[in-house]
Structures are given as structure tokens and as C-alpha cells.
């Protein structure tokens, strides 16, 4: 469910002037909006959050990524006011939640589900009782509670585990109980606090799949924080990169992945990107060692191209002998992203011309060096 919003419209400071919202009507429809949100913990010297402006739209899966200590936890917790901002405002459906008393806060939190890295299930309660608890404290009648709990355990695929205690479940099963519990009040927003960080890769995939399914079936807005880019790639529509309490980059996931602008984004993306194989690296030379040496070109595809690269046309444009050394393309939100490493020898073109010619197919081209 991608929500197309130009990158530029999100970068302007979140003033609430009439002129401003007239220019950017999507801000008035935002599900969650942060306006100049800052947070400083008492006793701390540096701010956990500084001047965060952000708009999250209805029905999107919104990712917040950053290294540990970047302020992700604080930021997501201002949405259900587990954390109170020091400055600025958080609007949910255009309503400022800053001044809510306990009654309104309880009512708000029932419309916002939350799941946690360490699941936070009550160890003394069964799976059934854990999922039932939010309904019980809300005073929902028993028959209604039973129907709802059954329905949700079915949704997460744990109907036969309802009598088990959390200690008897695997990590993935515990998170499924957490998800069922978070959804039991039919919330409009689901907050995921590092929901897959304590799980193995396979379980992570199944939980992310479930989140996607919930997003599509129930149409709820999902806000998730993570330190793993793979999670963002898997489920998110848009992403912001947080560093030292500030937003350093934001945009549609494919755009940030294809062309990360900030150093932190690149660092976070590094584990996903194919680095130059060491063996190839050691063979690379800055100057052509002989006349028949091949020039190594790196072609980067950032997903902005209108159509997939035509290899035959590319190769004939380069001329000579073109060998494929390394590379890969993956598709994110319908955009092909990745890189190809080509060794070109025997071409009648010089390296600078080769670079320019390849530029007709790839978004970025660089000459890495030469190999024999």
C-alpha cells in the first residue's frame, strides 16, 4: 500500500500555518503528525529527540531506522504517550494528544496497538488470558471477549495454543500472541518496537509476512522501528533515518535504498549491499598494466530508470569484449535496484567515453580500475 508523496513535501518544517497546510494538503490528512517534537530526559546532557517533523499517512507501513541510541524508541513512544515530548506536539488524526488526561489516554491507547522486542507477555497468564486482558480491563462483556480472542488467535495461527503459558512458546509464537493482544481492540495504528530483533531470520520473515497481511487486510497504519535495513526493505513503504535524535534522511524505501544520501544510511545499508569481492579487489589496478587490460565499470541502478536495462544494447554500445564480473538486481516496491560490475576490453572507446555511454542505461557509472 504505497502512499506516493514527493520527498520535498516532507522536508519542510512542520509549521501549522494556514498557508503551509494549504500548500501541503496531505498534512491535513496525516494519521500521525509530529510537529517540532523534542525530548530531553531529566539529567541527560543531550536531547534524545530534536525538532522532529514528520507526517505518517493512513494505511502505510512506516519505518524508522537508526543505530542504537538514535532516539527510535523515544520517538515511537510519543505516539501512544508512553513518552511525553519536552517540546512540540504529536497529532493523531489532527488531534493534539499532549494534554490528554488518564481517561482520554486510556481511550487513545485502546486505538493504538503495540508490540515489543521482548514480547512483554504476562508470564502468569495463559495465551488466551494474555490476549483477553486488554478487553477485560476495558469492561467488554464475556461473550464478546471470547469471540474476539478466538478470532485473533485464529488470525495469528495459534488457536491450539490458547491454554499454553508464554514460557512454553517459541519466540515467534510469543510475538504472534503479542500481535493478537495488540489487535484485540481493532486499533487503527500498530506500533512495532524492534518486533523482530529477538527472532531468528526465518521467524522474522514469518512475522513480517503477518504484519504485511494485517496491514493489507485490516488497513491499519503500521509504524515500526528497527536497526535492520532488511526489515525496512521487507515491509515498509516509507522510511526515515534517525541519527542522534534528528531525521537525517527520509523518503520512499526504494529511493533511500537506491540512493542513500546520508553516511548513516549507507552504514546501515552496508550489510545488504554486495561489496566488491576481495579477490577482485586485489586484482584491481589504478593504471592499465598493459594495452589489452580491461576497464572495470560499476553500473549502479537506483530504481529511477523508466524501464529495465537492455543488456544487448548496453554491450554493443560499449563495444569490444564485455565480461560480467559481479552484480545483482533486486526489486523493491516495483523498482529494480542494484549494481553490475563489467570488465570491458578491446573496445575502441576510451574509459571516459565508456563511462558516458554506460550512463544511458545506469544511473551512476564509475570506473573502478583495470584488470588483466
Amino acid at each position: 500500500m504505497s502512499v506516493a508523496i514527493a520527498r520535498s513535501s516532507l522536508e519542510i518544517p512542520g509549521l501549522l500555518s494556514a498557508e503551509h497546510t494549504e500548500l501541503h494538503p496531505e498534512l491535513n490528512r496525516a494519521h500521525v503528525r509530529f510537529i517540532g517534537v523534542s525530548k530531553t530526559y531529566s539529567g541527560a546532557r543531550v536531547a534524545a529527540l530534536q525538532g522532529i517533523n514528520l507526517a505518517i499517512q493512513h494505511g502505510e507501513v512506516f519505518g524508522i531506522i537508526g543505530r542504537s541510541g538514535a532516539g527510535k524508541s523515544s520517538l515511537i513512544r510519543t505516539i501512544n504517550r508512553l513518552e511525553q515530548p519536552t517540546h512540540g506536539r504529536v497529532l493523531i488524526d489532527q488531534i493534539d494528544i499532549g494534554g490528554f488526561d488518564e481517561d482520554r489516554l486510556v481511550e487513545l491507547r485502546r486505538r493504538i496497538g503495540m508490540i515489543f522486542q521482548h514480547f512483554n507477555l504476562m508470564s502468569a497468564k495463559t495465551v488466551w488470558q494474555n490476549v483477553e486482558l486488554p478487553l477485560k480491563v476495558a469492561g467488554v462483556p464475556k461473550e464478546q471477549r471470547q469471540r474476539k480472542v478466538r478470532e485473533l488467535l485464529e488470525l495469528v495461527g495459534l488457536q491450539d495454543k490458547h491454554k499454553a503459558y508464554p514460557a512454553q512458546l517459541s519466540g515467534g509464537q510469543k510475538q504472534r500472541v503479542g500481535i493478537a493482544r495488540a489487535l484485540v481492540h481493532d486499533p487503527q495504528i500498530l506500533l512495532c518496537d524492534e518486533a523482530t530483533s529477538a527472532l531468528d531470520p526465518e521467524t522474522t520473515q514469518s512475522i513480517l509476512g503477518l504484519l504485511r497481511q494485517i496491514n493489507q487486510r485490516l488497513g491499519l497504519t503500521i509504524v515500526l522501528i528497527t536497526h535492520e535495513m532488511a526489515v525496512i526493505r521487507e515491509v515498509c513503504d516509507r522510511v526515515v533515518v534517525l541519527e542522534q535524535g534528528r531525521i537525517v534522511e527520509q523518503g520512499p524505501v526504494w529511493e533511500v535504498f537506491g540512493n542513500p544520501r546520508h553516511e548513516v544510511s549507507r552504514t546501515l545499508l552496508a550489510p545488504l549491499q554486495q561489496a566488491l569481492p576481495e579477490e577482485l579487489q586485489s586484482r584491481l589496478q589504478a593504471q592499465p598494466p598493459s594495452a589489452d587490460a580491461a576497464a572495470v565499470l560499476r553500473l549502479q541502478f537506483t530504481g529511477t530508470g523508466r524501464e529495465e536495462a537492455d543488456l544487448a544494447a548496453l554491450f554493443s554500445a560499449l563495444g569490444g569484449r564485455v565480461r560480467l564480473l559481479h552484480g545483482g538486481i533486486e526489486r523493491i516496491q516495483g523498482h529494480g535496484l542494484g549494481q553490475l560490475l563489467l570488465a570491458v576490453s578491446g573496445s575502441s572507446w576510451g574509459v571516459e567515453e565508456l563511462r558516458q555511454r554506460a550512463g544511458n542505461w545506469a544511473q551512476q557509472v564509475e570506473v573502478l580500475g583495470y584488470v588483466v
Binding site: M122, P134, V137, A167, L191
Partner: protein
């Protein structure tokens, strides 16, 4: 004859400890909940109340039972009208056991993972819901274990109370065993006490284990 006396002593001990513990149980838990929730970062944060209550509990915890018992004599007379017998012993026993148990229960409540409280808040629990549905059930195995320790300590204290006129097994052991050198009665009292303590400890442990789902 001596059998009747022993039986009466046993019943008196059970009565003293039983009544005192029935008062100390809810009072101690209530004190512990207030101590935990009013502390820094607690759901009912109230630093002044927390400090005052903590000091009050420590005060009673630091007075040896024998001295507390004597010091409380005027208060005991005010409450039960006498300073002699089982009911007079209930007053100092309760007052000594409550802060003792409160501190143990407090530790169990404090050990409840903060993440669970956060999860409860996020699902729309009011603060008293958190106490009732999260803090108490999660700490229950530890509270049961703590109550077992409290009961054993109370049996110990009740023997001391017996020595200054409260009756019970302590009184019998003191009069017959110590003053008359009747080692047979002394031995019987010891066996009875050991059996009673063992029974309490075993059932307490079993209950705590049964409640622990972690």
C-alpha cells in the same frame, strides 16, 4: 494431663500465628504495593510518601521482637484490653510481622519486568489495573515464598511471646523445660515445632512452585 496442656499450647501457638498472619498478609501486601508504586518512576510516584513509609517500615524492622513486645504493652492494653494471653500476643506479633513481610513482598513486586508495565499501559490499562492484573499476579510466586518465611519467623517470635505470658508452646517449653528441667516435655515441644515449621515450609514451597509459570 500433660498431653492436654501440650495440645492447648499447640492450639494457642496456631491461633496466635494464624490470626496475626491473617492480618499481616493483606496489610503487608498493601504496604509493599504502596512502597513499589510510589517509588521513583512508579505508577503512583510520590517521593515524600515513599520515603516516610520506608522509614516507618525500617523503624519497626530494626527493633528486636522482645523489646518491641515490651514497648508495645500500653498499646496492646488499649487494643485488646489485656496484656496477658493469646490475644495480647497477636498485637506485637502482627506489628512485627507486617513490615517484615512487606519488605519481602516489595522485593518480589520490584522484580516484575518494567516491560510488562509498559505493555499494560500501552494496551489501555488504568493504574489500578496494572496493580491488580500485572504486578500482583506476576509477583505472586515470590509473595507466597515470602509469606512462608514470614510464617516461620512468626512461630519463632510466638515462642518469645510465650515466655512473657502469652501461652502457647513457647510458654510450655519455658515453664516445664527450662524451670522444671522436664526434658520429655521440652523434647515433645521441639518435635512439634519442627514438624509445624516443616509442614509450612513444604506446603509454601510447593504452592510457590505450582504458581510459577516462568
Amino acid at each position: 494431663m500433660w498431653f492436654d496442656r501440650l495440645l492447648q499450647g499447640f492450639i494457642d501457638t496456631l491461633l496466635m500465628v494464624g490470626v496475626s498472619s491473617l492480618i499481616a498478609l493483606p496489610t503487608g501486601i498493601a504496604l509493599a504495593v504502596i512502597l513499589v508504586t510510589s517509588g521513583k518512576g512508579g505508577i503512583y510516584e510520590a517521593p515524600t510518601l515513599n520515603r516516610a513509609l520506608g522509614a516507618f517500615v525500617n523503624l519497626f524492622r530494626s527493633i528486636p521482637f522482645l523489646i518491641l513486645m515490651v514497648a508495645l504493652i500500653p498499646f496492646t492494653r488499649l487494643v485488646v484490653g489485656t496484656t496477658y494471653g493469646v490475644w495480647a500476643a497477636v498485637v506485637p506479633l502482627t506489628i512485627a510481622a507486617t513490615p517484615f513481610f512487606a519488605r519481602i513482598a516489595e522485593v518480589s513486586l520490584r522484580e516484575v519486568d518494567h516491560g510488562l508495565i509498559e505493555a499494560a499501559q500501552a494496551m489501555g490499562c488504568r493504574r489500578w489495573h496494572i496493580v491488580w492484573h500485572v504486578l500482583l499476579p506476576e509477583a505472586l510466586p515470590g509473595i507466597v515464598g515470602g509469606f512462608t518465611i514470614t510464617l516461620v519467623t512468626m512461630i519463632n517470635s510466638s515462642a518469645m511471646a510465650g515466655a512473657i505470658g502469652a501461652g502457647g508452646l513457647g510458654d510450655i517449653a519455658y515453664r516445664y523445660g527450662y524451670q522444671r528441667f522436664d526434658s520429655q516435655i521440652m523434647l515433645t515441644v521441639i518435635v512439634l515445632l519442627v514438624a509445624l515449621v516443616a509442614l509450612i515450609q513444604v506446603s509454601g514451597d510447593r504452592l510457590a512452585r505450582g504458581l510459577n509459570r516462568r
